[in-house]
Amino acid sequence: MRLLVIITMFLGMVGMAVAQQSMPPAPYAYQQLDDPAQEAEAKALMETLRCLKCQSQSIADSDAPMAGDMRHQVRTRIAAGEDPEAIRAWLVERYGDWVSYAPTVSAVTWPLWAAPVILLLLALFLMRGRFRRAHTDDGKDS
């Protein structure tokens, strides 16, 4: 019985591997759009989309088949005249926020965008302290 399970699993794996190999990559996975402006637009968008199967890589830098499929999607949609942000929204709806490297401002992510402002204020506060002390110091010196 156990052997049977192992054999079926093995056959299943072989079957999957064969299926993966026999599927050609989508045409626009490794092919650029003819219009350089559209290609640049597609490339800029691809660089901000996460390859879901990889380790911290965008779909623009990945050999994973899934990244190839997503590149194909992005290029065909850009060629069809879709807005890059609309494509991003479509992908986010499909795969969740995880797919987009550009965090949107939402209930979950607002602290991320508030952080630089807070840091800036903190920095100004620290500097102001220094500045004033320096002034009084100058007064003493002269």
Binding site: T48, Q57, S58, S100, Y101, L119, M127, R130, R133
Partner: protein
């Protein structure tokens, strides 16, 4: 036997570090004056023992002793010598042993070489160092024993991840680890000085070489890692804002700030609290880096093992060390005298401003890196990547570069704004000319790369102004170091901006005989043939690169490699390096119609990124040599004075 001997050495070293901590603690508490004398020898022997343990592990890897679990899991008898050797630290346990080895050896170095510090500060420093070591020894011995045996030897090893089978592995991890550990030494000095209330210029001079050394190694480690990722991953990217990259960038940012503030403390006696704070932050960042990488909380090439037990262990260490240090800081910070004061418009003022901006960038990177972990814990998975880090980081980095250009031109204590404006005229002019040239000839480029190019050229000029009207032969080495390191920042920035702005990409499905144009080159795909290496087979393309204008020829051989153990496919890019850029060629897969996917890039001035990194490291090295030589001279001078005084007394 080798494994058992290694393990024994490791246990002994751990026991000695405990002895070092206890002896230090008791002698500081005034309960055993004689204990103080054993601390230095104990620290030295501890370092030697852990180094022996590490050599034992290397030996096991070189012999491919498959009865040892770690070797069987990560090595293979058919692996080339270099990767058997470097593979010792290409895994979790080995890399942690490398970490404690470097730490132990640094402890020995402090014990042997450091003679300036007051003896109680010295004892406290070595005790703090032992305290940090004990945590890592415990981590190794209780949850990551590298010398564990298998019940029965494995028939063959499982091999090393092919992405790691690169000369980069021999160089990149040890350099980064030396950097991290160097920061732990700086931290020990800071704790020692806090405990004994001895924060002042002498302490800063003792700490400075360690900070400088750590910073040099971090710089080189990050530079090497970036270039490794660039040529190995096959898509021409050189920085991904990957959490693991950020884990090395954050200690570097903190070390950069610390390096500058410790100089102010050593030269001017100012910024005392701030320097101690930065030392704590820098060490915390290297601990956070270790936690991120080693706990397996991130899935990445760097996170060799996913094991929640180890994660909790490191998190506990992190809490103890950082929490303890911050508590000590909170208690003792009030006792530190503020030190010499200065006007805002001075060298110190510029350094403070730069320090604040560097720390703000550090804050951005830290928040951006940890935020996804936080939201994931709350149930939402988000990604934070280049669209966040690039603009937000630049908002702080660009002003910092301006301050960096102006700072070295200001005098200590106070200076006039008029003079500064005059000196900044030339850099401003060069920046304006760059702007004009890019607008005229550069085509349409993004705002960040444009600002990067402008600031890079302006900064390059500003960074050499400190040499103006100086006798170049008599200029102290540390001034040269500063000039070269700042120049390195400008060079690296120029490379980054140029690559982002002018990168040309061509993706084609090609067959032998066809030609394609990219940048100034015409590439002809000639043949494709199978080749074999020691533990891989590959398909290798032969491509001729012709400079379209002059007709000069070169040959490129990109490969698509198949490794057998573990079975993995990698692409080996072929690079053609010229002074003005790099041609980057990758062979992809074969399409159904028999055409081959080729990826071709022309990346103008991309190499400047890493040349810049090397310059920064070289600048650090010159400064380190200059400072050390000066210290030795000063010490000899003092000794001679003392001898003369004695001689005079004797004569009288």
């Amino acid at each position: 036997m080798i494994a058992e001997a290694g393990l024994a050495c490791l246990w002994l070293a751990a026991a000695l570090s405990l002895l070092q901590l206890l002896a230090g603690g008791f002698s500081l508490a005034g309960k055993g004056e004689q204990l103080a004398s054993i601390i230095r020898p104990v620290a030295i022997v501890q370092g030697i023992l852990v180094a022996i343990a590490f050599v034992m592990l290397i030996w096991l890897f070189l012999r491919t002793d498959l009865s040892v679990k770690l070797v069987a899991m990560n090595s293979h008898s058919a692996k080339p010598f270099l990767y058997k050797f470097a593979g010792t630290w290409g895994n979790h346990e080995g890399s942690m042993l490398l970490w404690v080895t470097i730490m132990g050896l640094s402890g020995s170095c402090i014990a042997l070489l450091e003679k300036r510090l007051r003896s109680d500060t010295m004892i406290a420093t070595l005790a703090a160092q032992a305290f940090v070591s004990i945590g890592f020894y415990a981590f190794l011995l209780f949850s990551s024993n590298p010398f564990e045996r298998l019940p029965s030897p494995a028939p063959e090893g499982q091999g090393l991840n092919p992405l790691l089978q690169d000369p980069g592995l021999a160089f990149h991890p040890p350099t980064l680890y030396i950097g991290y550990v160097g920061l732990s030494v700086a931290f020990s000095f800071a704790v020692g000085a806090l405990i004994t209330r001895n924060v002042g210029p002498v302490f800063a001079r003792a700490m400075r070489p360690w900070v400088l050394g750590a910073w040099i190694f971090l710089t080189l480690g990050i530079t090497a890692g970036s270039y490794w990722a660039y040529y190995e991953l096959g898509w021409g990217g050189w920085w991904f804002w990957d959490p693991v990259e950020n884990a090395s960038l954050m200690p570097w940012l903190a070390a950069t700030a610390l390096l500058h503030s410790v100089s102010v403390l050593a030269t001017r006696g100012a910024l005392r609290t701030w320097t101690i704070m930065l030392a704590v932050v820098a060490f915390s960042m290297s601990m956070v880096g270790t936690f991120l990488v080693r706990s397996g909380i991130l899935t990445s090439v760097h996170a060799f093992a996913v094991d929640p037990e180890r994660g909790s262990f490191i998190l506990a260490l992190l809490a103890i060390y950082i929490g303890g240090a911050l508590a000590l800081f909170a208690i003792r910070a009030v006792t530190i005298r503020e030190g010499t004061r200065f006007s805002f418009f001075s060298r110190e003022g510029a350094l403070v401003l730069n320090n604040v901006l560097l720390t703000a960038i550090l804050g951005i990177v830290l928040i951006g890196t940890l935020y996804p972990l936080l939201t994931e814990a709350m149930g939402t998975k988000v990604s934070v990547g280049p669209p966040y880090f690039n603009p937000v980081g630049a908002a702080f980095a660009l002003p910092m570069l301006v301050v960096m250009a102006a700072g070295p031109l200001l005098r200590w204590r106070g200076d006039s704004g008029r003079k500064l404006l005059n000196m900044m005229a030339l850099p401003a002019l060069v920046a304006a000319v760059t702007l004009l040239l890019v607008v005229l000839f550069g085509g349409q480029i993004g705002i960040l790369p444009l600002l990067g190019l402008i600031l890079a050229t302006g900064l390059a000029i500003a960074s050499i102004i400190p040499l103006w009207r100086r006798n170049l032969l008599r200029t102290p080495l540390n001034i040269w170091g500063m000039v070269i390191a700042h120049m390195g920042i400008a060079v690296a920035l120029f490379g980054m901006a140029s690559e982002s702005a002018f990168n040309q990409e061509v993706l084609v499905a090609s067959q032998p005989g066809e030609s394609h144009e990219v940048g100034p080159y015409t590439l002809t795909f000639n043949t494709i043939e199978p080749v074999a290496g020691p533990n891989w087979t590959a398909l290798e393309a032969n491509i001729t690169a012709k400079v379209t204008a002059s007709g000069k020829l070169d040959t490129l051989n990109p490969q698509s490699r198949n490794f057998s153990s573990p079975p993995t496919q990698t692409s080996e890019a072929a690079l053609l390096t010229r002074w003005n850029g790099q041609l980057y060629v990758v062979l992809g897969e074969e399409n159904v119609d028999g055409r081959w996917q080729l990826r071709l890039w022309w990346k103008p001035f991309v190499t400047f990124i890493w040349y810049g990194g090397l310059l920064i490291g070289l600048g650090g090295l010159l400064a380190l040599i200059g400072r050390t030589v000066r210290d030795i001279k000063r010490r000899r001078h003092d000794m001679q004075d003392a001898q003369n005084a004695q001689a005079e007394e004797a004569a009288a």
